[in-house]
């Protein structure tokens, strides 16, 4: 009997072995890895700069996009000859969004030069680097991104005396899927020659990711029937908090309030927050692509917005367009301009990870890290990762969508894969 308990202990130890502390995937998605559980980071001075490719400036873009007409990227360099890692941001993220900055620190401290690129779905990329100005599909986006990447590498090589030993590529979320498509392209064209590629929480079936993310806004929170009710739900709580605490420092107490109340939120409340923030990204994509292509979907046809024109009503109506609505009203017509008989189903299939299955299976230099509780996949997607990547897939039991990549074990795995080509202990 005693031995049986010891055995139970071992088994539970086996199950508990992964120590990421947040078991609620919605919470993990929002707050990420608590600082105490992150990989230790030493204070390092990072030599870095933001570069602009002035020769590619989009002179024809409407004035309202004055700040993003020039393609930009960020680069951090090492003194000595070092490997270079390219980081691709996730949905809607600019090259310096917080997750990219966090990844940069990890790789920079491990001795990499780091090149940070915006997601094709970010506001700046849609205006300055996308040929169609309609982004979100990895097949066409990765072509734009691969070109930008080469220009960026050329640029840093010519403007700094740096020595690069090897090239690596990493992306998270939609940026991870972009990385796979770029990897395939690079394999064929050999213009960069990536030594290893790592995907962090990519969507597997695009349609699944789209429908899951849209579905979050259907979560039922009692008393919250529209977006204003959701806002008041949190704002009133915040105001009450201030009344009670007669707070001295607004920012610090806001942070305390948010920490306390986010952690105490129900799954449905958290789902709504994730859904809203995602919808806000989609609205920005819809607005930006419409204002660039002037095709009359959101703005009146041919209307070039001027600096003083209000965008508020366009933002509000864009917020009513789900991701699926964006795919059908913006992306499908864009694809049909090139291939008129494309069906919605074909569009989804051709821009899912599964279309690269053969290549992913035989390419030993590409790996994936994912979570068994990620919101953007499903059982079928998880099976695909196990079947296709084998030992080059590292699946964690917890972490939500990109909530655990700063956890110490994840960081060890990430660096281990780049160093050795396989995950430690696998």
């Amino acid at each position: 009997m005693k031995r049986f308990f010891i055995l139970l202990l071992i088994i539970s130890g086996e199950l508990q072995a992964y120590g990421f502390p947040i078991s609620n995937p919605f919470l993990a998605t929002i707050i990420g890895t608590p600082p105490a559980f992150r990989a230790v980071s030493e204070p390092t001075t990072i030599q870095e700069a933001i570069y602009g490719l002035a020769e590619d400036k989009q002179h024809k873009a409407p004035d309202i996009f004055w700040d993003v007409k020039t393609p930009k990227f960020k680069f951090a360099w090492q003194k000595n000859k070092s490997p270079l890692v390219v980081i691709i941001a996730g949905t809607g993220g600019r090259f310096d969004t917080s997750k990219v900055e966090a990844l940069k620190k990890i790789f920079y401290q491990s001795g990499f030069h780091v090149l940070q690129l915006s997601s094709p779905t970010s506001y700046d990329f849609i205006v300055s680097s996308s040929v169609s100005h309609r982004t979100g599909l990895s097949t066409p986006d990765s072509i734009d991104l691969y070109r930008l990447m080469q220009q960026a590498i050329e640029r840093v090589k010519s403007s700094r005396s740096i020595a690069i030993s090897d090239y690596y590529l990493v992306g998270y979320s939609l940026g991870a899927m972009d990385a796979a498509f770029i990897g395939k392209q690079d394999k064929d064209e050999r213009k960069v020659g990536f030594r290893r590629i790592l995907m962090i929480n990519p969507p597997v079936y695009l349609e699944r990711a789209v429908s899951n993310l849209d579905k979050l806004l259907l979560a039922d929170v009692p008393g919250v029937d529209d977006s204003t009710a959701l806002f008041n739900h949190y704002f009133d709580g915040l105001a009450d908090y201030f009344r009670h605490h007669k707070s001295i420092d607004l920012e610090a107490s806001m942070l305390r309030y948010v920490e306390k109340n986010i952690v105490g939120s129900s799954r449905e409340e958290l789902a709504l927050l994730i859904g809203m923030s995602f919808r806000f990204s989609v609205a920005a994509m819809l607005f930006t692509s419409n204002a660039m292509t002037l095709n009359g979907k959101l703005l009146p046809e041919g209307k070039r917005l001027k600096l003083g024109d209000s965008r508020t009503k366009y933002m509000e109506s864009a917020m009513h367009c789900s991701f699926q609505c964006y795919v059908e009203s913006v992306l499908l017509p864009a694809v049909r301009e090139k291939k008129s008989d494309t069906t919605l189903q074909q569009l989804y299939t051709e821009n899912s990870l599964t279309v690269l299955a053969d290549w992913l299976r035989e390419t030993r230099s590409i790996g994936v890290m994912h979570n068994a509780d990620d919101l953007i996949i499903d059982q079928e997607g998880l099976n695909f990762l196990y079947d296709t990547f084998g030992r080059r897939a590292r699946i964690y039991p917890r972490g939500g969508h990109v909530g655990n990549f700063l956890y110490k074990e994840n960081v060890t795995d990430m660096l281990g894969f780049f160093k050795n080509g396989y995950f430690p202990d696998s």
Partner: protein
């Protein structure tokens, strides 16, 4: 002997253990998907957030009658911030030690105790009035003319308060949203309050400092650089085509929260 007995006595539990170990070592253990979306309660398809055209995002509405002008000034502020203010602050941080910068920010903050104290008094907040008065006295004497902040060390922390809050206390609404050249987001009430506070500082003219600041360009520059240095937020922290709307929303709601505290003290 002991060893052989152990081996003989290991029954099925050890077998499981062996299997587990081998599965760990020899193959990839498969986790199954935890189906997080099935853990949620849902509305009907047409009742979700933003599913109805009637869901008008009313929480984003801010009274902004001169929006076109505001948007031009907003763009101007961003250009100035990007090309002049931020590079200047960067230079300031490179050429001065943090000790120097802290003395400068403490010094200018000390002057703000005057509007903070006067307005707390106008809002009948005796505790805050004394807080500001003590801070001013302690920091101006023990703290070498405000260069140091020993008052914080003994638990008297700076709380900014201004005439805009006093106006709110007496029931004055915020009025139209305004974007001020160089200063950024504000409102009719907030900018009027700021002007009164500045006038107050100039009138009291403690140690002739306020007068000097506005008469000597090098002081004015230092004042401005410190102002930007102590403002943590930057326009470029956000990347969105809706930046103007976002900042307008955040500024307005933040002020509402600050006024909540003041309002609650009113009778």
């Amino acid at each position: 002997m002991v060893t052989s007995r152990t081996v003989r006595n290991t029954g099925w539990p050890s077998l499981i253990l062996l299997m587990m170990l081998s599965s760990r070592v020899f193959s990839v253990e498969r986790l199954s998907y935890s189906e997080p979306l099935k853990q949620l309660q849902y509305h009907d398809e047409d009742k979700g957030l933003l599913a109805q055209p009637g869901d008008q995002l009313g929480f984003l509405d801010v009274y902004d009658p001169i929006e076109p002008l505001n948007r031009y000034i907003f763009a101007f502020d961003r250009i100035v911030d990007r090309n002049l203010l931020k590079p200047t602050v960067k230079l300031y941080k490179t050429v001065t030690p943090v000790f120097f910068r802290s003395r400068v920010s403490d010094f200018f903050q000390n002057l703000k105790e005057i509007p903070s104290g006067v307005n707390s008094l106008l809002q009948f907040d005796i505790r805050q009035t004394f807080n500001a008065m003590f801070r001013l006295v302690i920091n101006s004497t023990v703290g070498f003319f405000g260069l140091f902040d020993p008052a914080s060390a003994i638990g008297l922390h700076h709380q900014s308060n201004g005439f805009a809050n006093t106006l709110a206390f007496y029931g004055v609404g915020s009025g139209a949203y305004l974007v001020i050249p160089l200063l950024g987001p504000s409102s009719v009430r907030d900018i009027a309050g700021m002007a009164v506070d500045q006038q107050l500082e100039n009138q009291i003219n403690i140690g002739n400092v306020p007068e000097t600041i506005f008469q000597q360009p090098e002081w004015l520059v230092l004042y401005g650089v410190n102002y930007r240095y102590t403002t943590s937020l930057s326009y470029s922290d956000f990347s969105s085509p809706f930046l103007y709307d976002l900042i307008r929303f955040l500024y307005t709601r933040k002020r509402e929260l600050e006024v909540v505290i003041v309002d609650d003290k009113s009778i």
